[in-house]
């Protein structure tokens, strides 16, 4: 049989997009799709942990929790009850760049979702209480314990960021924040945080699914139109870096982990640039799937790495050169030095043995499927459009990403690898099992 191949995409966003801007600056994006009776409402606020000053790490994320605890016309617990009690799913996330809030509802509840979002955009501060703050502070501290402290290797990201970005850089600290700063967080600081950043002119409202643009624009005006803009929203500290790091950095952690693990990381290019598109394809060539170089050479070939734990991925940050992280975990009897040497050899091979057309085709096919999978729900589409509207000023630019990945050439990959993956700019984080407690009893 002749092997069929993945078609080249003319656009990565073949659905309609309409946009409007309210007088108060709120940008509204609508993408109609009637194939299912559901609608997603998504808000991107252009505030994340990069805006946090020293001593206030974790504030943007703790604030996100407070947004679910009631506002002037919504009692504590009612937000969740109105959404779930009408069949919806909801959540919110905070990262270094931004905070997003979203709910997917049966479409007859579109207006309810818009009302809830407007009420917490415009009316959160009067409803904030010390009791709510104290409760959610404990919840967030338990989130930190559960996700970062109580699992082997769980703090890798918290350790990598300060090694990758210098003191004072907006990406130097992790979004979850420190226990010390969380404990010091006072109610007035959160009221000020809302007044400073949660404004219509600092947000993008995206609605995708079973709703028409005219209907959404009218409802957006009804619920958000009278909210006041904020005139002096402070910018985040500048993310400019003069270029790749010039000195390698390494950190070794000995602790309660079951096997040696290595993370190699480099700052590359900001998300949304041609350089980062090449990094995205490169990460898939290196670490995506069983046909990747890391899998083929370290898990299958020399068999020094555990097959389930080899990987390479970019972290899609837009306001400074984003990290590429390459990782592997040692098989039984393999030491960290051997594993690190193997990883470096594969990383270096990108320059010394240029990526072939076949490797590129494989990586692009996997990226194509993952792109369409992300866009297969109204929630995934809304978040994508909100991102491109917030970070690049045009939701329609989402359509360029997939064609841009598909256009990456072997030379692009070699160039970006030669420029950004040098040993002189490498961050190496190594985990070693504590010899007194070799892993967990089994």
């Amino acid at each position: 049989m002749t092997s069929p191949s993945v078609p080249v995409a003319q656009t990565g966003y073949p659905w309609p997009i309409e946009t409007a801007r309210l007088d108060n600056g709120l940008r509204v994006v609508v993408s109609e799709d009637r194939s299912s009776p559901v609608v997603c409402v998504n808000l991107w606020y252009d505030v994340g942990s990069r805006h946090e000053p020293p001593g206030q790490t974790g504030f943007a994320h703790l604030f996100e929790h407070l947004m679910f605890e009631g506002s002037v016309h919504v009692q504590k617990t009612e937000h969740m009850r109105y959404v779930q009690g009408n069949g919806g799913s909801l959540n919110a996330t905070t990262n270094p760049d931004r905070t997003n809030y979203f709910e997917t509802m049966p479409s007859e509840h579109l207006e309810l979702a818009l009302w809830l979002e407007a009420d917490r955009m415009g009316g959160l501060v009067p409803a904030l209480t010390q009791e709510t703050l104290d409760n959610q502070r404990e919840v967030v501290k338990n989130e930190r314990r559960q996700r970062y402290e109580n699992v082997p290797y769980g703090d890798a990201w918290l350790r990598l960021l300060p090694l990758l970005y210098p003191e004072g850089h907006p990406y130097h600290h992790a979004t979850i924040g420190s226990m010390e700063d969380l404990n010091a967080a006072g109610l007035d600081m959160f009221k000020a945080f809302h007044r400073q950043y949660y404004a219509p002119n600092n947000a993008v409202l995206t609605v995708v699914g079973d709703a028409s643009p005219a209907e959404v624009f009218a409802l957006a005006d009804k619920y958000f139109g009278a909210l006041d803009p904020i005139s002096d929203i402070p910018a985040a500290p500048h993310g400019h870096l003069p270029g790749p790091a010039t000195e390698p950095v390494r950190e070794t952690v000995t602790g309660n982990v079951p096997a040696p693990r290595i993370y190699l990381s480099h700052r590359t290019h900001p998300f949304g640039t041609a350089g980062y598109d090449a990094v995205t394809v490169l990460a898939t060539v290196l670490g995506g799937g069983r046909g990747s170089r890391l899998y083929q050479r370290l898990a299958d070939g020399s068999r020094i790495a555990q097959p389930d734990y080899v990987g390479a991925y970019g972290v899609d940050l837009a306001h400074a050169p984003a990290p590429l992280i390459v990782t592997a975990t040692a098989k039984d009897g393999v030491d960290a030095e051997t594993l690190e040497a193997g990883l470096i050899e594969v990383l270096d091979s990108v320059v010394t043995e240029p990526v072939t057309e076949a490797e590129l085709e494989r990586a692009k096919a996997l990226l194509t499927t993952s792109w369409w999978r992300q866009l297969s729900t109204v929630g995934g589409r809304a978040d994508t459009l909100g991102r491109y509207a917030t970070q690049f000023g045009d939701p329609g630019s989402a359509g360029y990403r997939l064609p841009a990945w598909q256009a990456v050439t072997p030379d692009d990959i070699t160039d970006v690898a030669a420029q950004t993956l040098r040993s002189s700019s490498r961050v190496t984080l190594t985990y070693l099992p504590n010899p007194a407690h070799p892993g967990e009893p089994s």
Binding site: V6, H73, Q84, G87, V139, N142, R303, T369, E440
Partner: protein, 448 residues
């Protein structure tokens, strides 16, 4: 600043419909497909009656090793050749072993589905299974389980399962085995499992734009070279509840949280009380506003999250509450949790709470079923539990019509806080004395 003070009215609802289901008999097998017009991706999943329930006692993990070994090459392609052939289509093989089935699936742009199903079928039906490769996969699987068991949770879950179903039976042992059982599986066990259970036709689940597919051709690919008839379904295990509560400690030194797994046995999935039981569990521990999440997270701040649910398979079920709480509040968190389960059993649910549960669960049937992958999973539920093609429409009506009396009766009938097993995985040096003093249940130490 002017906000609209009144909550808006609900707009006109569109009628609910599950995608049209098409069943096509091909050879000895059946293609069960759902039509999703305009979808760019399509999913195909081969569903075989080759789940962990088919493993012999002592052979826990055989199916999981086999599932991984399927990707080590076929009769015509070596391991790397197979991986590259599939990945050039944009697909990766997803395999899963559950109690009732082994699934092998692919998701790809719809035009590439025939080629992807061809590769899927060759891996499932004619894998190379070279003894050297199988031995290596087994060793890797032992290591992978050790990695997984170093996380909080799997050991607690194993302790609970053993206590509920008995470590002397297959259902009392972990779904994917433990590092010791997997190490003991032989190459011949794996080959025999493939020969005995993977060569019956089974069912091919397909979700996507059926106008762009030839289901008979996909079925012919998936079922080629198979033989044997479908296996009979065995009787449910029944629900036995001990007279008293038991507390089992799993030591995890230096844990900053205690991982909780509390549970008891429950009916199987096809039990007539399924709808009312699961609504009772939604009120107790399913929704964000559930009794447990409200009290333990939103009022007390003991945890990042807690949930309670009935997990149900073809032959048995289990009521399970899971959470991770700060070590210092382990005892009050346990006491409050058991208290809420007891209150729900004794006092039932309220109309306000049930209304949230009904409408949430009904809404999820559209909100959570937008993708070919989620629709293929919904089809798997139909096949495994022998449910009709209009099941989801009926389920939605039953959810919306369930009464307070019926759901409260299900809570009284199917929640057993007095006979529950409480497994606590944490730093026992810190929590043991407090637990003993609290007198929540007899304390034993797990041997895991």
């Amino acid at each position: 600043m002017t906000l609209v003070a009144s909550r808006p009215e609900t707009g006109p609802a569109r009628p609910y419909a599950f995608p049209a289901v098409v069943r096509t008999a091909v050879g000895g097998g059946t293609v069960v497909a759902a039509h999703m017009p305009g979808q760019l991706l399509a999913t195909a999943t081969l569903l075989l009656d080759a789940g962990a329930a088919r493993e012999p006692l002592g052979g826990e993990g055989t199916a999981a090793i086999l599932a991984k070994a399927l990707e080590e090459g076929t009769r015509s392609l070596d391991s790397a050749g197979f991986a590259v052939a599939l990945e050039r289509l944009g697909a990766e093989l997803s395999t899963s072993v559950e109690w009732d089935a082994l699934r092998v699936g692919v998701s790809v742009p719809v035009d590439l589905l025939p080629a992807a199903v061809e590769l899927l079928a060759s891996a499932a039906r004619t894998p190379k299974l070279d003894p050297t490769d199988v031995s290596r996969v087994r060793a890797d699987e032992v290591t992978a389980l050790r990695m997984e068991w170093a996380q909080p949770g799997p050991r607690a879950d194993a302790a609970l399962r053993a206590d509920l179903f008995g470590a002397d039976g297959r259902f009392g042992r972990p779904l994917h085995g433990d590092p010791t059982s997997v190490a003991a599986v032989t190459v011949e066990d794996v080959l025999a499992f493939h020969r005995d259970w993977m060569l019956r036709a089974g069912v091919l689940l397909v979700a996507g734009d059926l106008d762009k597919m030839d289901l008979a051709a996909l079925g012919a690919t998936a079922f080629g070279g198979t033989s044997g008839s479908p296996l009979p379904v065995e009787e449910p295990l029944g629900v036995t509840i001990p007279a008293g509560r038991r507390t089992i400690l799993v030591d995890r030194p230096d844990s900053v949280q205690s991982t909780l797994r509390l549970g008891h046995r429950a009916p199987h999935r096809a039990h007539p009380d399924y709808v009312t039981m699961s609504l009772a569990a939604t009120v107790l521990g399913g929704a964000f506003t559930s009794r447990l999440n409200h009290l333990i997270r939103e009022v007390k701040g003991y945890t990042y999250g807690i949930r309670g649910e009935f997990g149900m398979s073809r032959r048995f079920g289990r009521f399970l509450v899971s959470s991770a709480v700060q070590t210092a509040v382990t005892v009050p968190a346990l006491a409050e949790t058991v208290g809420e389960i007891t209150r729900t059993r004794l006092d039932g649910v309220t109309e306000d709470e049930l209304d949230v549960a009904r409408r949430w669960r009904a809404g999820q049937l559209t909100v959570d079923m937008q993708t070919p992958g989620s629709i293929a999973s919904a089809l798997a539920t139909l096949v495994i539990h022998d449910l009709p093609d209009d099941y989801y429409e009926k389920l939605r009506r039953q959810l919306l019509e369930a009464t307070v009396d019926a759901v409260s009766a299900a809570a009284a009938e199917h929640l057993h806080p007095e006979g529950m097993t409480l497994v606590i995985e944490g730093d026992t040096a810190i929590i043991r004395d407090d637990l003993a003093a609290a007198d929540i249940g007899d304390i034993t130490d797990a041997t895991i």
